[in-house]
């Protein structure tokens, strides 16, 4: 087995022993159960929704896109929780406990070690996010009989968003203690969430400045931009009042979208990764 494989296995075993997977799995089962229940009740109420006669709203599309948008947010959140707890102490935390030094002095080297830790977390988190996203998609599709126009894209974007969070967490772990790093990454995630809500508010109030601020924040934290792009993809067939109502959010308003944000997200991931490797290479242990 290569050195990368050895460290990936080491990281996965560590996560398994610390019951990270067990906690996240439990939370996921609870979430999917509640989500199915909510979707089921919405389906029961769907036929009774009667918008004013002069307003044309496709209630099925609205409910489907809105609920799937909600599920995408929850998926992103759970994916971020998993990503943070898998990586928050990879450098400083493990160095403080004396776990890192015996590994780093081996020929494997620092860059391979950090890259291996990234690959381990990325593999687990991407698989997890895709699994939860498709489970939610199936719940919405089978219960409401509504399927989004884009199926794979939004899930892939959520997974890419979580990879960015993993890279940020690894970068933070080089300089911050495990606790401080965990707090910092969750605050960044919260800032991204606020940026998205700000865009919704700016749209509702028709405020160019608020929308501009939201856009800047979404580009600075592209996991939020990817989430917004994913929301756009699931609701791109919605038209007229349905589309307008979805844009009012909070789980349908996507103002940053398109190939530019996707390309920027990939570039951002590479840049953060390179910064983490450079910082780790210079770190005294």
């Amino acid at each position: 087995m290569s050195s990368v494989g050895v460290i990936v296995q080491y990281a996965l075993r560590e996560a398994l022993r610390r019951k990270v997977f067990a906690v996240v799995l439990l939370l996921t089962v609870v979430f999917l159960g509640l989500f199915w229940l909510a979707t089921h009740f919405v389906h029961g109420e769907l036929d009774t929704i009667t918008p004013p006669s002069d307003v044309l709203v496709d209630s099925r599309t609205f409910a489907g896109a809105f609920l799937l948008g909600l599920a995408m947010f929850a998926t992103l959140f759970l994916g971020v929780v998993l990503a943070v707890f898998l990586t928050l102490g990879v450098v400083s935390g493990d160095a403080e406990r004396g776990l890192l030094q015996p590994l780093v002095v081996r020929p494997i080297g620092r860059s391979t070690l950090l890259l291996s830790r990234f690959l381990a977390a990325a593999g687990v988190c991407a698989a997890y996010v895709l699994a939860v996203y498709f489970a939610a998609l199936v719940i919405v599709g089978l219960t409401l009989h509504w399927w989004p126009p884009g199926v794979v894209g939004p899930g892939a974007e959520l997974a890419l968003g979580v990879l960015i969070v993993i890279a940020l967490s690894l970068l933070g772990s080089v300089g911050l203690s495990a606790t401080a790093n965990g707090i910092a990454v969750f605050m960044l995630f919260g800032a991204g969430l606020v940026a998205g809500l700000l865009g919704t508010i700016g749209h509702a109030l028709n405020s160019q400045q608020i929308r501009h601020a939201s856009t800047i924040a979404s580009w600075a934290l592209p996991f939020e931009g990817l989430y917004q792009d994913g929301l756009r993809l699931i609701s791109r067939d919605a038209t007229g009042t349905t589309s307008f109502l979805l844009q009012l959010g909070p789980f349908g308003g996507g103002y940053v979208h398109g190939w530019t944000i996707r390309a920027w997200a990939v570039a951002y991931l590479v840049l953060v990764g390179v910064a983490a490797l450079a910082a780790f290479a210079r770190r005294n242990l």
Partner: protein, 280 residues
Amino acid sequence: MPAALETSDLSKRYGSVQALKDVDLSVDEGELVGLLGPNGAGKSTLVKIAVGLVRPTRGTATVGGAAAGSRAARASLGYLAELFRFPGWYTADEVLELHQRLAGSNGGAAERARLLELVALDDARDRRVDGMSKGMQQRLGIAQALVGEPRILLLDEPTSALDPVGRRTVRLLLEELRSRGVSVLLNSHLLSEIELVCDRVAILLGGELVAAGSPAELSRPRGVELDTDDGVRLIEGATREDAPRLVAEAVAAGRRVYGVRVLASTLEDVYLEAVGGETD
């Protein structure tokens, strides 16, 4: 052949603290060198630079001719950190297997069994780390450092958690390693241990190398003690070469000589003199 470890003008500064200052030190092939000094003298910093955990501010360090921290240097060393831990859910055998894979060792189960036997952990092969005493973990740490048959071993306080039997095991192990041509840099507070096993001793104080040499070279003659019917008398400044003459003079003077002892300073005396009585 390049020295197993060589430092030249090695300096390290952490902010306003000068941890190491212009240290020149070498450990030759098959040599066992003891590193002494009070806490904060720079011993661990020197070892960490040698294994690539810390970057020097100035100067160079090489391991087997390769720059410290390079892949070639890391491939030829074994290291036991002062503060280390292995994952609690690994067994002793799994810890060694993990390090075999990372070190690229082909020793397999035979190497692991041999190393566990060397540190007297052969009957704890399947015991998990979190079920081991501190001393057992330290011995496992030493076995881990020996994985892949390193050319040089850097041990930072390897016996701090060991009982007297464990210390003796490590001492015998170090002597065996020396006989096999493995170089060792041993960082320890235990002067008696260093004095017993080390070929040379280096003493650090405030980041500077204040004394270096073999225990015999470092020790000073303290005189010759004559035990006669007139009592015990210390002749200061006398050396081993003076002893026969002093005995002959005492006998000629009609004294009965019961014993003669050539006195030299111990490593503890040398150390205390070098560090000026400085402690933690």
